[in-house]
């Protein structure tokens, strides 16, 4: 496999604000690469620089070896951009919208018509293809929004939060379309703040916050950064310092996040186990109102890396 997208030390400053702070990653052909981070993390700014809408303050972006800075037109021909907002002409029908975007990329006649038909079927809008899109539901508009970015059959598709604000059925439909795109040999950069989507879709992920990539790898690799074991979450009336001191004295127990009244701890797999850990804490005079035990996930990793929850 070769890298379709290479991003190196990409940086964007707006005055005193650093929106993207030197991120680097690459995406291989046929891969879905996820950008996981909360709102305002720098995901959209990164995509805007990758597709040439914003000029980076520093850094490089190459698509199939071509720099967006030196040859933006050539790069843009290979990109399909699906923005976060639903950007369609509501006076026009789905077919007319698709034909317009195909026309922008120089598609004409039979080639354009057959591509439009294909996409309408793919996103399930063929029966309402001639209807003005202002009559569409939110989910239908989202599906069309996605299709508009695919009409010229781009090599790399940039999907910026394509499932925001839609019902589960429409979301499922969009995720299926994304999978089918990749099955057809295309490459996808997918930004989201929905953990389940990232886990389901992405071959590799980058966790981004405050304009920086905090960690990247496959879902499995990222989960291992949490350590092997079970996640123990306790709540009660205790000071953070008391719990921290207690945890250090219990074998097989590691602190992940400890606050007053609430703590997240990892019970290592090679240690004595959860029961032993809880007994150790109780024996040091601690009591809890609530105890939760579960397998760690990306949300927990995000919390560990950033100190805050993903959806805040």
């Amino acid at each position: 496999m070769s890298a379709v997208l290479e991003v190196k030390d990409l940086r964007k400053e707006f005055g005193d604000l650093t929106a993207v702070d030197g991120i680097s990653f690459d995406i291989q052909e046929g891969e879905i690469f996820g950008f996981l981070g909360p709102n305002g993390a720098g995901k959209t700014t990164s995509i805007s620089m990758i597709c040439g809408l914003l000029k980076p303050t520093a850094g490089e972006v190459h698509v199939e070896g071509v720099s967006i800075l030196t040859d933006p037109r050539k790069v843009k021909r290979r990109l399909g951009v699906v923005p976060q907002e639903v950007a369609i002409y509501e006076e026009l029908s789905a077919r007319e919208n698709l034909a317009f975007w195909g026309g922008i990329f120089g598609m004409r006649g039979g080639e354009l018509n057959s591509r439009v038909d294909e996409l309408l079927e793919q996103v399930g809008l063929e029966e309402r293809a001639k209807e003005p899109t202002k009559n569409f539901s939110g989910g239908m508009k989202r599906r069309l929004n996605l299709a508009l970015g695919l009409v010229h059959d781009p090599k790399l598709i940039l999907l910026d939060e394509p499932t925001v604000g839609i019902d589960p059925q429409a979301r499922r439909n969009i995720l299926e379309v994304v999978k089918s795109i990749v099955a057809g040999g295309r490459t996808v950069l997918y930004t989201t703040h929905y953990l389940e989507e990232a886990e389901e879709l992405c071959d590799r992920l980058a966790i981004i916050d405050h304009g920086q990539i905090l960690s990247q790898g496959t879902v499995g690799e990222l989960k291992t950064q949490m350590g092997e074991g079970s996640l123990l979450t306790v709540q009660g009336d205790f000071p953070a310092t008391t719990l921290s001191e207690a945890v250090t004295g219990v074998e097989g127990l590691m602190p992940i996040e400890i606050d007053d009244d609430r703590a997240m701890l990892l019970v290592t797999r090679d240690g004595p186990g959860v029961s032993h850990s809880l007994e150790g804490l109780f024996s040091r005079g601690l009591t809890f109102d609530d105890i939760t035990i579960k397998e760690p996930n990306l949300e927990d990793l995000f919390l560990k890396l950033t100190g805050r929850e993903l959806r805040n």
Binding site: A19, T44, T45, I47, S48, C51, G52, L53, L54, K55, R73, K76, R77, L79, V81, P83, E85, V86, A87, I88, Y89, E91, L92, E96, F100, W101, G103, I104, F105, P132, L148
Partner: protein
């Protein structure tokens, strides 16, 4: 570029309400203002006649009979229908059979000759708007002249009254003496009394010239004035659409394609020009169908003038759009510019009726050159050679403003915030 222009034309076609309103506006204005002002052609045959009832209660009075005899004569017959009535006049007014009734009181002549206060009553028909007002104003003018005449010729009028009441014809020498006295007084005040009549004569001369031209009418004139203004609104909306595309994310999406911002802005401007020409064509066709504009008209000249005006209108409004930051600001600023240019440029009032300083300023507006050109073609039978100056001026104004706007808009939208 054609893909972008076609898209915008299709959007207007699919969502036509705003366009229909912009087309209806000049038609409505033409119909409303044209109807109030008569709306007829240059021969005046379509001018609605005003029916006046004249009730003379001073039956034997010399002056009242003279007024009765002169009313509705000469050119005024085209506009006035004067009917002498007796007591039945009141009933006729109640039935709405006339615009107004003028009542000359008893002893009218005697009181005027004796320089005593006397009142002429005017009964208006409340069902009619402007016509009774014309009668009131006209009667006021007659009263003023009678009043001034009585003051000026009081002595001679007294002598004439005695002569009229005498059983025998007056001696020629006596008549000659009175006539000489009247002439001497009139000559003395002629320059103060008659200038308005001389001005009226000037207007009649213009009418006579117009009679030989095409038979388009006042509706057509107002249609041209208001179409020019409506086209400015069309241009504002077309150019302001770039903000709508920015807000909806469509602009950002377009700029993520190989299209450059220069092409996107350029296509929007070309669309605005093309759309303006389409709207003008629709309005012109309606004007022809309704016979507000009557051929022959130099079609090539009309098309060239229309295109150059649309270009200039789009340039001006594109410049306005390029200088503001939001769609709302573009709307407000556009409105102010349009109203200003329309007021000064002749879209609200014929330039000839404006004060001289305003007429001088009007030449700096695109409205002036468009209206001047179109009215010349439609009403004076002018051709391309006569209005080539108008076309060149509009093209130059359009080229300068479009270039400036293009530079500013490209700079504005070159980098779209995420």
């Amino acid at each position: 570029m054609w893909v972008l222009i076609r898209k915008d034309l299709l959007r207007r076609w699919r969502s036509p309400l705003a366009t229909i309103v912009m087309i209806i506006f000049p038609l409505f204005m033409s119909l409303a203002v044209g109807s109030i002002s008569g709306g007829g052609g240059n021969d005046g045959s379509d001018f609605p006649r005003i029916k006046i009832l004249l009730q003379n209660n001073d039956e034997n009075g010399f002056l009242s009979n003279a007024l009765m005899g002169s009313a509705g004569q000469d050119e005024s017959q085209e506009y006035l229908e004067v009917v002498a009535v007796g007591d039945e006049g009141t009933e006729m007014m109640e039935e709405g059979k006339a615009s107004a009734m003028v009542v000359l009181p008893e002893d009218f002549t005697a009181k005027v000759f004796n320089r005593e206060p006397v009142q002429i009553a005017v009964v208006r028909n409340p069902a009619e708007g402007i016509k009774p007002e014309i009668v009131v104003q006209g009667t006021g003018v007659v009263a003023t002249y009678l009043d001034q005449g009585a003051r000026l010729l009081g002595e001679e009028l007294g002598i004439i009254q005695v002569m009229m009441e005498a059983e025998n014809l007056p001696a020629s020498a006596k008549v000659g003496a009175v006539s000489a006295g009247i002439m001497t007084k009139i000559n003395g005040v002629e320059k103060y009394l008659f200038p308005p009549l001389v001005e009226v004569g000037g207007v009649k001369e213009e009418d006579a010239e117009g009679d030989s031209g095409p038979a388009s009418n006042v509706f057509g004139y107002i249609l041209i004035m208001t179409t020019v203004m409506a086209l400015l609104f069309v241009a504002t909306r077309s150019m302001g659409d770039i903000f709508e595309e920015q807000n909806s994310g469509m602009l950002k999406r377009q700029l993520a394609t190989p299209l450059g911002i220069g092409l996107v802005v350029g296509a929007k401007t070309v669309f605005a020009v093309v759309f303006g020409v389409i709207v003008m064509t629709i309005l012109g066709t309606i004007g022809l169908t309704l016979q507000w504009i009557v051929p022959p008209v130099d079609l090539v000249a009309v098309v060239l003038l229309g295109v150059s005006f649309s270009l200039a209108a789009c340039g001006f409004l594109a410049l306005v759009v390029s200088l503001v930051k939001t769609e709302k600001q573009a709307g407000i600023m556009g409105w102010l510019v349009i109203m200003g240019m329309s007021a000064v440029g002749g879209s609200m009032l014929p330039v000839e009726q404006m004060p001289a300083p305003m007429q001088a300023v009007s030449r700096y507006t695109i409205n002036y050159w468009a209206i001047d050109g179109f009215t010349g073609l439609v009403f004076s039978g002018e051709g391309l050679a006569d209005i080539v100056g108008n076309i060149v001026r509009l093209l130059v104004m359009g080229a300068v403003t479009i270039t400036a706007a293009q530079v500013l808009l490209v700079r504005r939208f070159r980098e779209v915030s995420p």
